[in-house]
């Protein structure tokens, strides 16, 4: 399965999801407020589901 960017039609690659998850995780760790951390964790959860749907489990995903 592949996931496409609905705005451009470009594929969102597993590597892009992994990099985004890593970035969001850093943001969540550095969050100055629980509400901000919660927001990042929600987006991370969504991205992990998308990554899982592609069928490519990453090191980053397993580590989480």
């Amino acid at each position: 399965m592949k996931i496409y960017d609905p705005l451009t039609g470009m594929e969102i690659t597993p590597d892009e999801f992994r990099r985004e998850i890593a970035m969001l995780r850093r943001k969540a760790d550095d969050a100055r407020d629980e509400r901000i951390e919660e927001m990042y964790l929600q987006v991370i959860g969504k991205r992990q589901q998308q990554l899982a749907a592609i069928g490519t489990h990453s090191v980053a995903l397993e580590a989480s």
């Binding site: 960017d5 609905p6 705005l7 451009t8 470009m10 969102i12 892009e16 999801f17 990099r19 985004e20 970035m23 969001l24 943001k27 969050a31 100055r32 407020d33 509400r35 901000i36 927001m39 990042y40 987006v43 991205r47």
Partner: protein
């Protein structure tokens, strides 16, 4: 606020706007990826524009950008309810397919913003065309309106933030460019060292009649194309494009222009070797990617239009106008005032298009004194030429007959003498020497020792020691 044009809604993409803003709320570092790509008025929806401005303002004062700081700032500005409250910020975050594509989404937003500006500009042009304004003024208005739409147009930028961003962009380009120039490189090492490249603005190269103005312009055109793939536009008022192309091919193959033009050498047909050289040279000239247009008898408004056309259509990097005294005036004022206006228009055109325009200029004959450098006061018919030029240089034919044996002095030598450089503020007393091949008018730079000998010869000719 929905913007419409008649029955149609103006081009926009709500999802792309939301995605860009969502990406910025997730990762404010994305601002650096989209810097210079999108600006506030590219956002069609007012509330999205407010959110974008709020995010950039928070980032510029060095605070963290997240949905709490953005909602607090919107609240402080009395805009939070107008954008739809904190829940709208959550909508933005959820609308982002991935923050990794923020730059691509920003380009969609910027492109659509640009299209809306095109529609507004063309409507304004149409309005002007319908009222009583004359054709020339309407055309000039239309050109200015369209030039404002160019991505890096200097006319559109006025606030210091945008100007600094543009300048940083230029710095980055120069950092990655191994050449030691700030403008369009001519391809001649000493000339580039002297001028640091031909920067945006009007450059005037003046000389007495038949002293190498056109030859220098053609050689720079050819050398810049050969070495840097620079695209030139030559707007000729004196020679025809066919004559100039013959000279370019002659310079490339090293065969006399008359031989090429007549197809005969000493009255005999050309040898296969010469035909091959001519063919190969023609192919090289054809690959210059340059434009040559005959503008004889035209006024400066027509020439300005043609330069703009070739910039937009063919992407020329530099324009040459040969030569400025042949540009037709209005006939309604003195020639001096006409040339002031002509050079002023050429300078404006260069600045608006962001390219150098080199105008060759003939110095007055009545004060002709061979061996002396024509100063700023000798531009024929006008002090306004010097006034409007960012850079002014005199091309001087160097008479070296008394210095060398006749057999050695078969080639002509000309020097390029900088008189004024407002664009760079560089030292202007540097002189660059060229030897002109007598058969082809191809220029080669003089070696330093030869240049020194030439300057000594000039001093002797002027009565010095």
């Amino acid at each position: 606020m929905i913007q419409t044009m008649g029955e149609k809604t103006m081009p926009n993409n709500s999802e792309a706007e939301q995605s860009v803003l969502g990406a910025l709320l997730l990762d404010s570092q994305a601002l650096y990826a989209i810097a210079g790509v999108v600006k506030p008025d590219d956002f069609y929806y007012e509330k999205n524009r407010w959110v974008f401005e709020t995010i950039t303002d928070i980032d510029q004062r060095g605070d963290a950008v997240d949905f709490l700081s953005v909602s607090a700032e919107l609240e402080r500005r009395g805009r939070l309810n107008d954008v739809g409250g904190c829940s709208y910020l959550t909508v933005l975050i959820n609308a982002t397919p991935t923050a990794m594509h923020a730059d691509t989404h920003a380009r969609i937003v910027a492109d659509l913003g640009g299209k809306r500006r095109i529609i507004r500009a063309t409507c304004a042009i149409a309005e002007q065309a319908y009222d009583g304004t004359g054709f020339t003024d309407t055309l000039s208005f239309a050109q200015k309106e369209l030039l404002k739409l160019m991505p890096r147009s200097r006319m559109g930028a006025s606030d210091i933030d945008t100007l600094v961003a543009n300048q940083v962009y230029e710095y980055n380009l120069r950092d990655s460019d191994p050449r030691d120039v700030a403008g369009v490189a001519t391809g001649f090492a000493a000339l580039d060292d002297n001028t640091k490249g031909l920067d945006i603005g009007l450059h005037v190269w003046q000389a007495e009649s038949s002293h190498g103005k056109t030859a220098l312009a053609l050689n720079v055109m050819a050398q810049a194309a050969r070495k840097n793939q620079t695209r030139s536009g030559m707007f000729t008022l004196e020679m025809t494009p066919e004559q100039l192309v013959n000279r370019l091919i002659s310079m490339e193959c090293g065969i006399n222009t008359t031989i090429l033009a007549t197809g005969k050498m000493n009255g005999l047909p050309l040898t296969p070797d010469i035909i091959t050289r001519r063919r190969d040279a023609a192919q090289r000239v054809a690959s210059y990617g340059s434009q040559i247009e005959y503008c004889g008898g035209q006024g400066v408004a027509d020439i300005r239009s043609r330069i703009i056309y070739h910039k937009l259509e063919n992407g020329i990097d530099i324009a040459f106008v040969d030569f400025v005294q042949l540009i037709r005036g209005s006939g309604q004022s003195t020639r001096t005032l006409e040339l002031d206006a002509i050079c002023g228009t050429l300078n404006e055109t260069a600045n608006e298009l962001g390219i150098p325009i080199v105008a060759t200029s003939q110095v007055s004959r009545d004060k002709m004194q061979r061996g002396q450098i024509p100063g700023m006061d000798r531009a024929r018919d006008s002090g306004g030429i010097e006034q409007n030029a960012g850079c002014l240089a005199s091309i001087v034919y160097e008479d070296r007959n008394h210095l060398f044996e006749a057999s050695y002095n078969c080639d002509r030598v000309v020097t390029f003498n900088g008189l004024k450089d407002r664009l760079h503020g560089l030292c202007i007393d540097k002189i660059v020497g060229f030897r002109i091949d007598a058969d082809t008018s191809r220029l080669t730079e003089l070696m330093p020792t030869d240049l020194i000998a030439t300057l000594r010869a000039r001093k002797v000719a002027q009565g010095g020691r």
